[in-house]
């Protein structure tokens, strides 16, 4: 009997050469580099000194690591305010939209009624409309409530605009929770609220993670609503601040790069750690829509 290693050798030599995996890998690598180039450029610019950039070296590797840009941005009190504002909008709006989505999703999945499909469709289709469609009336509404130039309109609108996707994903997820579990809980004397909180929700942690990553990213990155609803500098969110500070640092590319990175850092971290949920949410929302 020949040894395994020996026989494996023989097989390898007889196996016909398949050029495809290599070709595909090369092809993907080139495309990946092209795709990364823009992001990479910003990263590089942020760690270069003004002098280096002024010599037209924006897209090359930096000659030395220069952290002055980050120091500049991070010591700017306006940036602190922007980040704080963004957080104060993102956290409550994410939590609120998911809560409302959980409530609605549970009814549509487990307590359907006559016409519930239609109501569900109406809620979900809100996902597809350009926000411009409701811009003016909302502006008027918040204006009359005296809430313009506060953080409230953004929290409220993000909550409301998050209801479609949250309801959709939660309904689809709750639908996979077996009915016998609910029926068993009913026999044990649980009411619907207890079933939701004690049975359905603990099983739905993955769905909640999906929604939290999605909503956090979208709200953090939003630009339109703060543009409409804020006026003074100390109410701006980071994305809006980014645009306004661009004027302030018009040719300081390194500082702009550092600012962009700092503004994107929370979403990049979320992406890095919760990528699986993120992608799942995107495809779930899309495919089942």
């Amino acid at each position: 009997m020949k040894s395994i290693a020996e026989s494996a050798d023989i097989s390898a030599s007889a196996r016909p050469f398949n050029p495809w995996p290599g070709t595909i890998f090369a092809c993907l690598s080139v495309l990946a580099l092209l795709f990364l180039a823009p992001t990479f450029g910003v990263l590089m610019s942020s760690i270069k000194s003004k002098r280096e950039i002024a010599f037209g070296q924006l897209w090359t590797m930096p000659s030395e690591l220069f952290l002055g840009n980050f120091a500049d941005v991070l010591s700017n009190p306006a940036v602190h305010q922007y980040l704080l504002n963004t957080f104060l909008v993102t956290a409550p709006a994410t939590a609120a939209s998911i809560t409302l989505g959980v409530l609605g999703g549970y009814v549509f999945a487990k307590l359907p009624f006559k016409g519930s499909d239609l109501l569900f469709l109406a809620l979900v289709s809100g996902m597809f409309f350009p926000p411009q469609v409701i811009l003016i009336p909302l502006f008027r509404l918040f204006n009359s409530m005296g809430l313009i130039d506060t953080l409230w309109p953004m929290i409220i609108v993000h909550t409301a605009m998050g209801i479609p996707i949250c309801t959709l994903l939660m309904r689809n997820f709750f639908a996979t929770v077996p009915n016998p579990l609910r029926e068993c809980a009913i026999i044990e004397g649980a009411n619907e609220w207890q079933i939701l909180v004690l049975v359905a929700l603990p099983l739905s942690l993955p769905a909640l993670a999906v929604l939290a990553t999605l909503q956090f990213t979208w709200i953090w990155n939003d630009f339109l609503w703060p543009l409409i609803f804020t006026q003074s500098d100390d109410k701006r969110t980071i994305m809006l601040g980014l645009v306004f500070m661009r004027g302030q640092y018009s040719v300081a590319w390194g500082i702009q790069g550092a600012m962009s990175l700092i503004a994107s850092l929370p979403t990049l971290l979320v992406f890095l750690f919760f990528q699986r949920y993120f992608i799942k949410g995107m495809t779930m929302g899309a495919v089942k829509g």
Binding site: I4, S7, A8, I10, S11, A14, R15, P16
Partner: protein, 360 residues
């Protein structure tokens, strides 16, 4: 010339070896059934023969040609999948003619051959339908149609009946047997169902943990199992296994079952303990108390054509299954004397290999 030949075929997935060196020669026109419990590697064997998986080492020959590294489509094999693997967006005709379309045959030629294949399977009326409009049995036929139109040297069937309900399964089994008679094709068929294996096969290959446990025609495998695994796997209900001991008496040994000498072995036997294998039909209730052991009826299963009883005994933790003779009525709780047919005892060593069969 053998139609299919496997030479020391081995397969690893990562560090795990799933096929431990299989050798097999399949004759032209033979119906071979790979049978074994799930996870034994029988489906992997089929995928290796088809070329969907590659061997780690070893050789595969089809019609005398070494096809070990040949592309699946050039091996002259056709495969029928467990799920049928029909394209949902194609009609029955398009599904059957898929390979011919890939080969860019003229449309008229394709249509002609598709119709011929459909006639063999009596599905001419279904050619314009989509798979979703077909019943399970019809889908099965379409999948077979896609195989026979290729005119392969070897047909590969991967548990083709497991998605059908019981009645349909029996019917399709018959049809596959008929098809084999008509086409005279070489068939390698994988199943975990020993009844399917017994009824369809010219030769059964029993596989256990990536190794061949026994090869032989169905009766051989049933009557002379090579080891305890085969004995237990083939036949339903399963063979009874009873712990017994050996006692040396002078120049010979006797098999002792619960203190009574059952039979004598011709030679001195170098073991102390053995297992006796007895099929349910080789046990019977004695008319008198002159018996091999007593059993208390625990449960009676009446299947209509035959009946079985499960007996509690004092020496075996597992219940002993016995086939009742027609008209024999017993009820739970009866304590009855049981005799063993001395001509049909299988003796297994503790390691599970067969020591002697039949009259000892």
């Amino acid at each position: 010339m053998s139609s299919l030949k496997l030479q020391d075929v081995r397969k690893n997935f990562g560090t795990q070896t799933v096929i431990h060196g299989i050798d097999l020669d399949v004759e032209e026109g033979e119906f071979i059934v790979f049978v074994g419990p799930s996870g034994c590697g029988k489906s992997t064997m089929l995928r290796i023969i088809s070329g969907l998986d590659q061997v780690t080492s070893g050789r595969i020959f089809i019609a005398g040609n070494d096809v070990t590294f040949t592309h699946p489509s050039k091996r002259q094999v056709a495969m029928v999948f467990q799920s049928y693997a029909l394209f949902p967006h194609m009609t029955v005709a398009q599904n059957i003619g898929f390979g011919l379309r890939l080969a860019k045959l003229p449309k008229a030629e394709i249509a002609k051959r598709v119709f011929a294949a459909a006639e063999v399977l009596q599905i001419e009326d279904l050619l314009g339908r989509y798979p979703r409009q077909l019943s399970g049995g019809q889908r099965q036929r379409v999948a077979i149609g896609r195989a026979i139109i290729r005119n392969p040297r070897v047909f590969l069937f991967d548990e083709p009946l497991s998605n059908l309900d019981a009645a349909l399964r029996v019917q399709m089994r018959l049809e596959i047997a008929r098809l084999h008679n008509r086409l005279g094709a070489t068939i390698v068929y994988v199943t975990h169902d020993q009844t399917e294996a017994m009824t369809l096969a010219d030769r059964i290959v029993v596989i256990k943990e990536g190794e061949i446990a026994q090869v032989g025609n169905p009766l051989e495998v049933y009557e002379s199992p090579a080891n305890k695994f085969v004995a237990g796997f083939i036949g339903a209900p399963s063979m009874n296994f009873l712990k017994a001991s050996i006692r040396a008496e002078g120049g010979r040994s006797s098999i002792q079952l619960y203190g009574a000498a059952l039979a004598y072995l011709p030679d001195r036997f170098a073991r102390e303990y053995i297992e006796l294998g007895i099929r349910p039909e080789h046990l019977s209730f004695s008319e008198s108390s002159d018996c091999d052991f007593w059993g208390v009826v625990e449960l009676v299963e009446e299947l209509g054509s035959e009946s079985f009883a499960y007996l509690q005994t004092e020496f075996n933790p597992e219940p002993v299954t016995i086939r009742l003779e027609p008209n024999k009525k017993v009820k739970a709780g009866d304590k009855l004397p049981v005799s063993i047919d001395r001509n049909a005892m299988h003796v297994f060593s503790e390691s599970g290999s067969t020591v002697a069969i039949g009259r000892i």
